[in-house]
Symmetry: C2
Subunit: 257 residues, 2 copies
């Protein structure tokens, strides 16, 4: 997933990025020894690079400690990046509308590697939460939005996405079933997720397309299997597809659906 065709003259750049990327939800704090081992750099090199990152505010050493964490400059740029995604501004009212009319949670997500990233979220039942899920990622193959995004991604689905890791007993894990599902998604114009990510969670997603017809994001509604029963899916699929179409239109898409 990382180097498809190495760009020459960029080793240092690659290395800094891999240092930054080492920080994750599971591992937000690293010491020099382990971090340099993790990304395969000599300690001297890692140290030199981290020193710059620290001085520039991209990483931070909690006072007293020599460990590294992501720093404030990362927050600044991250928030800016979030604001820059204009799908977000356009989609927000539709998310609100979906949450209001369906009573379920509504999500806007995009693809990052093999995962989907929550860009925006509006809770159902009118309670406007404070976006606690924004920034979260889920494995794409176990979500409705992920199916939608991968169904239209060029090439992305032609080769195994480093295995289809099961999240529940319902997660699609066979490659054949997966390609069939994507075909079906393309045909129907929406995707479902029936307890494939988490037991008791069901969702329905539709694609958002930009000016060029590229599927860049996906809209979904999801909720507890108790309320969001199977018989409601056609109704929800219709609502989500329509909402997603309106967003696509506002982004300049002039397509068939």
């Amino acid at each position: 997933m990382t180097p498809p065709q190495p760009i020459p003259g960029t080793r240092a750049v690659q290395r800094v990025l891999s240092l930054l990327r080492a920080f994750s939800e599971e591992r937000p704090t690293w010491n020099l020894t382990e971090l340099s081992a993790e990304v395969g750099l000599s300690m001297a090199t890692a140290h030199r690079m981290l020193s710059v990152l620290e001085r520039e505010g991209f990483v931070v050493r909690p006072s007293g400690s020599t460990d590294f964490q992501l720093g404030p400059e990362m927050i600044v740029l991250g928030v800016l990046a979030l604001k820059t995604v204009d799908v977000r501004a356009v989609a927000r009212p539709e998310l609100q509308f979906l949450a209001d009319t369906t009573g379920e949670d509504a999500y806007l997500e995009s693809l990052v590697g093999t995962e989907v990233l929550v860009l925006e979220e509006v809770r159902g039942r009118g309670l406007l939460g404070l976006g606690t899920e924004v920034g979260t990622r889920w494995p794409a193959h176990a979500t409705a939005t992920g199916k939608v995004l991968l169904a239209d991604a060029e090439g992305a689905m032609t080769e195994p996405v480093e295995g289809l890791h099961p999240m529940t007993a319902h997660t699609i894990t066979s490659w054949e079933k997966w390609t069939d599902t994507l075909s079906e998604v393309r045909e129907k114009g929406y995707a479902t997720n029936i307890e494939e990510l988490e037991y008791g969670f069901i969702s329905v997603a539709a694609p958002i397309r930009d000016r060029e017809g590229q599927t860049t994001a996906s809209l979904s509604v999801g909720g507890s299997a108790h309320r969001l029963t199977m018989d409601r899916i056609p109704e929800l699929a219709k609502a989500v597809k329509e909402a997603a179409s309106r967003v696509s239109e506002r982004l300049g898409y002039r397509g068939s659906d």
Copy 2:
């Protein structure tokens, strides 16, 4: 502000970071020509680096365009950085408490260069907004939190912070007045901002100290000059100082105040 003592063997790293940092609220989109000029790189170099950044998801070219914007990977890391700052988790209940008891907006901020960064925010009058200010920055010298943070920062206030740019007629602009103010802040243990950032906006801030006694963040309440009148300042200062102290304690600080 950028290179105090250049670290040798890091030119490429510095350059990537300056490319990333070029993206700002005012200028979230760049084309190659202007961006390379802005950061003083040859187009070839800028192009090479941006190609890597793009392939790694740190920047993005909105489909069709050749312009650059910050990408999803930046969001991922930014959100992670935000979660990593543990002051935030500890301070949240106190922010809520301050907002509840004073009725004004409560903020948690930290220092980034010569600006303060809003890490967390709770609106007054019990209405829990969705953190629209989180990620915003303000010039440190024109805010109460900035005064608090700079008052305790080592060396930071010993030399002109690249000029004290006036935001209103009340902004401190003379270096002498500035150092006097900081002394006063250190003495009193809190800082005020009386329409120095924006006409009609008044705030009061106190320092949060970590285990090592370092002032790493600042707590403040602020609001309209109509409601937040001068006679309420002593009362608010007391409340903010106490709240900040409780946060400091929970971070392991065992100091005098």
